[in-house]
């Protein structure tokens, strides 16, 4: 078989959406993170005083907390953070309709190849471009049902009480260094409220991307699924390639009230120089169900562990995640489930693919507090190595303080075997296609859970990443 290093060097693992569209931000904060930047952000947004105070307090916490020493390699991060812009606002005002969206931004969507069908669904979408929502509309029937689907800024402005009651209750700024950073400089993200008993058939979707070179993106999303409601929120994003390192640190907070059912799906595909450190957490009340479906591609380092805090009786949490670590990438992902009530149940299914110098780590926590009788949890991790060099490791942390509970853990590592490739090739498939089919099969249990267009997109992204994995 031909081995051609040159071919691999042209950037098979490189991000495929290598383009930058011209646009001029209206306001750009200075480089680095300090009190002045925080005050500027808050003033630009015309925020109430309590939010400015919250931001400043969070900045203090951020400064006081040391960099984590676990997870991925953060040694270069200090330098990166000194260099980035913490706030960029591309446009003066929120766009009301798709027609108002500037041509260069549409072009970006175009080049991302968002299918026509998906654009139609964009009728009900908040598409976040850089730090702000540029386009935000809500399906009328949702509005009629009292559903709120706004930018986080509008959420704060238009629904101050509801906002303040829940904001930072799931992820307090003191939770971790990056949650503190986000709390200080957050900008952009969604605010979602589903009233009691409302069931949404069509998922709420947000499409966003980072586009300003060296811009940090700190989106903040707050979702409240009120009693007995049922909804699905989808967020996907892709970022273009830049030569300098970039940074993304989001916070997603979800409150799932009694009897509600909420699913949050995200497929993230960052450029290879991106640090992606996200805190996603849900508070799940009695008889409620929270499902995280999390796909991570690209980035230099991703550290992301969607969590479910099961605080009410019979609360259920499920985390399905898929990570792809190509050359030079480290995906440190997994999930956390905290059982803090009787008869709570949870399941984590984590699948990872690593290739070349890529490294995928599973890091998971299952904690069962005393008194959480008859709690049940099951963890399954499944790693696929594309070649000999690829690496995977598993860090399951299990803490059980309740004897009357059941926790299962299962980990598997498999390699794409020469025999499998030969088998498919002997049926006429070229080697690349054989590899792609094996990988598609591997992620099938997760792709099956996605709406069709996202499953197609996930497969397409992985295929792009896989190109040239055959030597």
């Amino acid at each position: 078989m031909p081995t051609n290093e040159a071919v691999q060097d042209i950037g098979l693992d490189d991000y495929k959406y290598h383009f930058i569209t011209e646009d001029e931000p209206v306001f750009r904060s200075g480089r680095g993170l300090n009190e002045k930047v925080v005050r500027e952000i808050s003033a630009q947004k015309g925020e109430p005083k309590w939010m400015l105070d919250f931001r400043l307090k969070s900045l203090d916490i951020y400064n006081a907390k040391p960099m984590p020493t676990w997870g991925g390699d953060l040694s270069q991060l200090e330098r990166v953070l000194g260099d980035i812009f913490f706030y960029v606002r591309p446009q003066e005002r929120m766009e009301r309709s798709w027609d108002d969206v500037p041509a260069n931004i549409k072009e970006t969507f175009d080049r991302l190849g968002i299918p026509e069908a998906e654009r139609e669904i964009l009728a009900g979408v908040g598409a976040q471009y850089e730090s702000e929502m540029v386009y935000h509309s809500l399906k009328e029937e949702w509005e009629a049902q009292g559903v709120i689907f706004d930018s986080i800024e509008d959420g704060l402005r238009n629904h101050p009480e509801l906002f303040r009651e829940h904001f930072a209750t799931v992820v307090p700024p003191g939770d971790n260094k990056f949650a503190a950073m986000n709390s200080a400089v957050w900008s952009g993200g969604s605010f979602v409220y589903i009233p009691p008993g409302v069931e949404l058939e069509t998922p709420l979707q947000a499409y966003f991307r980072v586009n300003q070179e060296q811009m940090g993106q700190f989106e903040r999303t707050l979702i409240i699924a009120d009693e007995g409601s049922r909804a699905h929120y989808i967020e996907g994003c892709t970022a273009p390639v830049y030569s300098t390192e970039s940074f993304h640190s989001g916070v997603i907070e979800i409150v799932v009230k009694p009897g509600a059912h909420f699913r949050y799906t995200t497929i993230q595909n960052w450029s290879n120089n991106m640090y992606n450190l996200v805190t996603q957490r849900s508070l799940v009340h009695e008889n409620a169900t929270m499902e995280w479906l999390d796909g991570n591609l690209g980035s230099k380092l991703t550290m992301k562990y969607p969590s479910c805090f099961l605080v009410g009786e019979r609360a259920h949490g499920s985390i399905l995640s898929i990570a792809y670590a190509g050359n030079g990438q480290h995906q440190d992902t997994g999930g956390k489930v905290i059982h803090a009530a009787p008869r709570t149940s949870s399941s984590i299914v984590s699948k990872s693919i690593s290739k070349g110098s890529g490294r995928a780590s599973y890091r998971g926590l299952c904690k069962v507090y005393e008194g959480s009788t008859d709690a049940k949890s099951n963890v399954e991790c499944d790693a696929l190595l594309i070649d000999e060099a690829a690496r995977t490791d598993t860090y399951p942390y299990i803490e059980i303080d309740e004897n009357q509970s059941t926790v299962g853990h299962e980990a598997r590592v498999s390699k794409v075997g020469e025999e499998q490739i030969f088998y498919l090739m002997s049926r006429g498939m070229p080697e690349e296609e054989a590899m792609a089919l094996i990988v598609r099969g591997f992620i099938e249990p997760i792709a099956r859970q996605l709406p069709l267009e996202y499953a197609v997109e996930l497969n397409r992204l992985i295929e792009l990443e896989m190109e040239g994995s055959v030597g």
Binding site: Q420, F422, S426, G428, I438
Partner: protein
């Protein structure tokens, strides 16, 4: 039927890649369109190796001799190119491809045979698949199962034959497809192969087997005996019958005198 062989090997030699273990020590075979050849031989004599070398398995390296398929130099072609030109091997030990349904697998394999830009018609495909499954007495739901994942030995073998039926090769190499099949399944598979050959009389078959039993259902035109990487005897169906009687003893002796010489 044309007289030009579909497959012709001459003094074909092969060893394990990266090692000095020679397995095929000069194999001469000539198979014409429509012919059925059986290859028999003791365990470890090189039958599967021959099949895999013909299919282009990267674990083996051809060290000498030649192999021509339909007039082209087979050894120049990659595994997938061989398959697309009409070589098919039913595996002795098929591997599992989790998460990939048989239908999806076959669709991808057929799509790979089309010109760039041509799309397989999914309705036609569905029809072909269902019709072939019926021929092999398989339930349609079987096509939704992941390829060989958790299959019983017999299911794996049937799946190989289903693939052969859908892909319609010019040369079908069947490596011990009979082992692991119960007597009813054996009949179904044999009937399947016979039907396929009736539909396309030019299809050539190379059957690797240990047992006369299969040859009662699929009548070979030629039988070859392979011992220690060489064909030591070729003849008609009677060769298989004599093996049933006397085993490989006489060939082994023959072999040792050959090696001693």
């Amino acid at each position: 039927m044309s007289d030009a062989p579909i497959l012709k090997t001459a003094d074909l030699r092969a060893k394990v890649t990266d090692e000095e273990i020679e397995i095929l020590k000069g194999v001469d075979l000539e198979i014409r369109p429509g012919e059925i050849h059986a290859i028999m031989g003791p365990n470890g004599s090189g039958k599967s190796t021959l099949a895999k070398v013909l299919a282009g398995h990267p674990g083996y390296e051809v060290t000498g001799g030649s192999a021509f398929f339909d007039g082209q130099d087979l050894l120049e072609l990659e595994t997938d190119e061989r398959a697309r030109s009409g070589v098919f091997m039913a595996f002795q030990y098929p591997v599992a491809i989790p998460g990939v349904s048989i239908a999806n697998f076959l669709r991808t394999a057929l799509q790979a045979r089309l010109e760039d830009g041509d799309e397989l018609d999914l309705f036609d495909f569905q029809d072909i698949l269902l019709e072939r499954m019926e021929l092999l007495e398989m339930s349609p739901s079987f096509a939704e199962r992941a390829v060989n994942d958790g299959f019983s030995g017999g299911e794996k073998k049937r799946n190989e034959i289903l693939q052969m039926a859908v892909l319609e090769p010019a040369l079908a190499i069947m490596d011990e497809t009979d082992s692991g099949l119960d007597i009813d399944a054996l009949k179904v598979v044999a009937r399947g192969v016979n039907t396929l050959q009736k539909e396309r009389p030019e299809m050539a078959v190379l059957l690797i087997t240990h047992y006369q039993r299969l040859l009662n259902y699929i009548q070979p035109d030629f039988v070859h005996v392979i011992v220690d990487g060489r064909i030591v005897r070729s003849g008609g169906p009677e060769v298989a019958l004599s093996l049933e009687e006397g085993g490989y003893r006489e060939y082994r002796q023959l072999q040792s005198t050959v090696s001693a010489a």
